[in-house]
């Protein structure tokens, strides 16, 4: 079961806020976060790890990133 957070095009710190909200809220085990800058990618990964989550995979396509976060 997955849920997707679309944070593309959003300024700092909104991608992180949306990701952390979803980590707290969702009952699903996996969260996919879409971002379109390297800064947002790094920030989301850092935030997820700080919450004790695991970053399973980061895939990139046409300058966008999909970060797969596994809730612990």
């Amino acid at each position: 079961m997955k849920i997707t957070v679309d944070a593309r095009g959003l300024s700092c710190p909104q991608p992180v806020i949306l990701t952390l909200d979803e980590i707290k809220k969702t009952k699903k085990e996996e969260i996919l976060v879409l971002v379109d800058t390297d800064t947002s990618k790094e920030n989301v990964i850092r935030a997820a790890i700080s919450q004790g989550c695991k970053v399973k995979e980061v895939s990139s396509e046409e300058g966008e990133y999909c970060i797969s976060i596994q809730k612990s």
Binding site: R8, G9, L10, C12, P13, V16, T39
Partner: protein, 363 residues
Amino acid sequence: MKVKNVFATKWGIIGVGAFIGMIAPMLQKLGNPGNMGICVACFERDIAGAIGFHQAAVVQYMRPEIIGFVLGALIAAYLFREFKPRVGSTPIVRFFLGVFAMIGALAFLGCPWRALLRLAGGDLNAILGLLGLGFGIWIGTLFLKKGYTLGRSNATRAAAGWLLPLMLVLFFVLMLIYPQVQDEPKSGVLFYSIKGPGSMHAPVVISLLIGLAIGFFAQRSRFCTMGALRDMILFKQMHLFSGIVALVIFAFLMNLILGQFKAGFTGQPVAHNLHIWNFAGMSLAGLCFALAGGCPGRQLFLSGEGDGDAAVFVLGMIVGAGFAHNFGTASSPDGLGPHGIAGLVAGLLFCLFIGFTMMKKNA
């Protein structure tokens, strides 16, 4: 596959903070104004003066550091494939956030970078400024938590991302065509201060090269003074904060070595000691930076990455400097400008208006 970005690690951001902390006092030694080795707000204000947007004769100089910041970030962004032209996240609001950020910063006399450098030089008034900065950012985080957003940007053509860097290249070319002439207030189309902070500067080539280096490393590390305090308040995250701590410690040590450290509230260079207004000025600036998503330095580096919305914020700051001096809202070492309080009130009302209205529906 891209190489791992070492600058985005904890030691990366600390290293970049330390680098800026060491370089800034050296720029001061080489001629830049006191506790102003680097100040993004002051230097953009000087650029506004150089192109005649205001007539404050003591603060007119085309600062090559600012040009270098954007071009250094542009080079880094291209080298590491991070140049992403993008626009459309409510640019008009960002423009006015830039205007009022400048009005707030010039009430205090400095951007967050200079607040840190002033502290590292012993100017205790900076403490009030930094507390104000934190207060303004804290208000910004309340809006962010309530769902404040300026919406998404969209990818665009490279040309749009190039416009601000190209404008700054043109400014530098103008500086070469119309170089400073000893004791002359104007050379061709450019104004040059013959006294005051605008007349104090390091050699042009050194300023540009250092600007390029800082722009390069800051783009890689995402160094941001506003983000440092915001992430601590919002997420209890110390990553960016470690960068500004390194900046202060290394700038302090450099100032000691260079004999530039002098502790006190009075007699500090380009500063006043009106505590309430130092606090209030930086509160307004901090709130504007938080609502715009980056400190003035970070907005320059984002502009270099092709972020057209950050570029609009930068233009807002330059125009804001024109307002601040033409309308008498800017402070001077003698104290607050004649209309300083009006400028701060207008800015605060603007920020509250934007903060309450730019909410995501159903948030």
